[in-house]
């Protein structure tokens, strides 16, 4: 075999291998329709690029909160019986840390995502985008992060700077060492 023939063959083999790696081996499953994907494609990343159209303010959110949320989270978001949503800023380094949306959550987009997918607990998925924006705005306002009249939408929500945005560090384990001299 001439050198140039070998080269051509080598390239051919490499191309085949690449094609092989990229093609399905079993051919099971089917291609979902665009509608099928859209119906489930609701995850909102920290940059908020997936946020849908719609808007709301804390003022609008207060009404929805009273009707749909207050029974579990309390009239002001502090009474419970379920997760406290308001307050706690400045407590994370004390003996009694209070972790709320305002004191602990690093991204405002997560509030939108979680309300939209999981709340209210008796009927998750029943809130329209405008209502989710309004409730998110209400929680941000009650936590003194935005103003009562600030409009939350796909453009403004990702720009909200959460107080605990820099509060998280990566996992450094193992983080403790054996006593000097080893273990007995």
């Amino acid at each position: 075999m001439r050198w140039s023939d070998f080269l051509v063959m080598a390239v051919f083999v490499a191309v085949c291998a690449a094609a092989q790696a990229q093609s399905p081996a079993y051919g099971l499953g089917r291609t979902p329709s665009a509608e099928e994907i859209r119906a489930w494609d609701i995850a909102i990343g920290p940059e908020g690029k997936e946020l849908p159209p719609g808007k709301g303010t804390a003022k609008e959110g207060a009404t929805i909160y009273a009707a749909r949320c207050a029974a579990c989270h309390g009239q002001t978001g502090t009474e419970g019986p379920f997760n406290r949503l308001v307050g706690g800023q400045g407590t994370l380094n004390t003996n009694r840390p209070v972790k709320t949306v305002g004191s602990y959550w690093p991204f405002a987009t997560t509030i939108w995502d979680y309300i939209n997918r999981a709340m209210p607990v008796d009927n998750p998925g029943s809130l329209a985008p405008d209502q989710v924006y309004a409730l998110t705005a209400f929680l941000l306002y009650r936590n003194s992060i935005i103003q009562e009249t600030d409009v939350m939408d796909a453009a403004s929500l990702p720009k909200v700077r959460m107080p605990n945005r820099n509060g998280f560090v990566p996992d450094p384990r193992p983080d403790w060492k054996a006593p000097v001299g080893g273990r007995n």
């Binding site: 089917r30 995850a43 990343g45 380094n93 997918r117 560090v169 983080d175």
Partner: protein
């Protein structure tokens, strides 16, 4: 073969040395009236679904909730035998109750940064090449608050770990079918529970050993364990193994979902918190004798327990019966598997005096268990998850066994 034979002979020697002359006093029982005619006490001939003996009462437990919404239950480790947890006793942790799902209507959607979005039925997934593996699954909150609360038994302190044989399709196979694109680095997995629970997972782990499981201990998954489909992510904190799995979205960054920001992160004394603490550290616990139990009298007992590590296989377990002054190697019961419970055994003769028994393990990476004090020194007391301290049980002169840490 040779080593197992040698181990058997060692076992025999230990047993012979310890048991001689002690069995009678240890049992402390007087002979009963003798067996009744078994034909008079028959439970029948055959049955479609076997049930355990009516004399067996081992069960999951949970804490009462003032809100009435109980979200977790615990495995009765004190009754455990071997390394497999019976499916019906596997611990539970649900974020929005247990959904009832018809497997004929369930689908798994794979989309995002892939060349070919795909949607699978459960039956299609079951047609693909399958693998079975024995893996533990542990809630990251297991053995939390070692010095708080009123946890008395191994079930209460450590009952949020269980171990099963899981059967399913490697997630890497499904991702290869879909063709993962170059810029992909994470996945977002979503369940079909009411909260549509979501976690971000690094693509590297998915291409390594994650299972899309439909089988548990020879049968279908239990509803509480994600029927008909779940992720099983070996060695990692339990909640990331999304149950009732319905969607894998391939993405280019973690999506910072509620369960990986506001939950399952650990507060440090300075107010910062650790995030994406995936592997469960090496841990062990003596399951017999353990808190709430009772030793009927001095004599021979086999101390036994479980050890596991999210970083691989258990290499060594040591047991102390004198409050930690002296430690001796326990025997590891085969099989010793990566990311699985490992049963350990330690022959012991109780002299009837006060004793504190505890175990500590070392995994294949050299990781080992700290004391509670060592952990608190580094992490403080607001650190809620991922504890792997040494658990100690105190045996009183009357034979009662208590949690020595509270």
């Amino acid at each position: 073969m040779k080593s197992s034979r040698r181990r058997f002979l060692q076992d025999g020697a230990i047993l012979t040395g310890l048991v001689a002359g002690t069995v009678r006093s240890a049992s402390g029982q007087t002979p009963g009236p003798g067996p009744e005619n078994p034909a008079h006490r028959s439970a029948g001939f055959v049955s479609a679904m076997g049930e355990r003996s009516r004399f067996e009462a081992s069960a999951r437990i949970w804490s009462d909730s003032s809100t009435g919404r109980v979200t977790s239950s615990r495995t009765p480790l004190q009754d455990s035998k071997g390394i497999i947890t019976p499916s019906m006793l596997h611990f539970e942790r649900h974020h929005a109750r247990v959904p009832e799902i018809d497997p004929r209507r369930h689908r798994l959607l794979i989309h995002g940064l892939v060349d070919r979005p795909l949607i699978f039925t459960v039956a299609e997934l079951e047609r693909l090449p399958s693998i079975s593996r024995i893996y533990f699954l542990e809630c990251s909150g297991n053995s939390r608050n070692p010095r708080r609360g009123n946890a008395e038994t191994a079930q209460q302190t450590h009952g949020m770990t269980s171990c099963s044989e899981w059967t399913g399709v490697p997630l890497s196979l499904l991702l290869q079918e879909a063709g993962v694109q170059r810029e992909a680095s994470w996945l977002v997995a979503e369940g079909a529970d009411a909260a549509k629970m979501t976690r971000s997972i690094p693509l590297t782990k998915a291409m390594d050993d994650i299972l899309v499981a439909y089988g548990q201990n020879g049968g279908a998954l239990r509803p509480e364990q994600g029927y008909p489909l779940r992720l099983l992510i070996p060695g990692w904190e339990g909640n990331i193994s999304i149950k009732w799995l319905r969607q894998i979205q391939v993405v280019d960054q973690p999506y910072m979902t509620r369960e990986e920001t506001s939950r399952y992160t650990d507060l440090l004394p300075d107010g910062r918190a650790r995030q994406f603490t995936f592997e469960m550290d090496p841990k062990s616990v003596i399951t017999f004798p353990s808190g709430g139990g009772n030793l009927p009298g001095p004599g021979f007992y086999e101390i036994t327990g479980l050890a596991w590590s999210g970083r691989g296989a258990i290499r060594r377990v040591e047991v102390s019966t004198d409050g930690g002054a002296n430690w001796q190697d326990a025997q590891l019961q085969e099989p010793v598997l990566r990311f699985a419970h490992t049963r350990f055994r330690f022959a012991w003769k109780w002299d009837g005096g006060e004793a504190v028994v505890q175990s500590r393990c070392i995994d294949e990476q050299g990781g080992f268990q700290p004391t509670v004090d060592e952990l608190i020194r580094v992490r403080g007391t607001n650190y809620n998850y991922h504890h792997n301290h040494i658990q100690a049980w105190k045996i009183n002169r009357d034979g009662s066994v208590r949690n020595a840490l509270v």
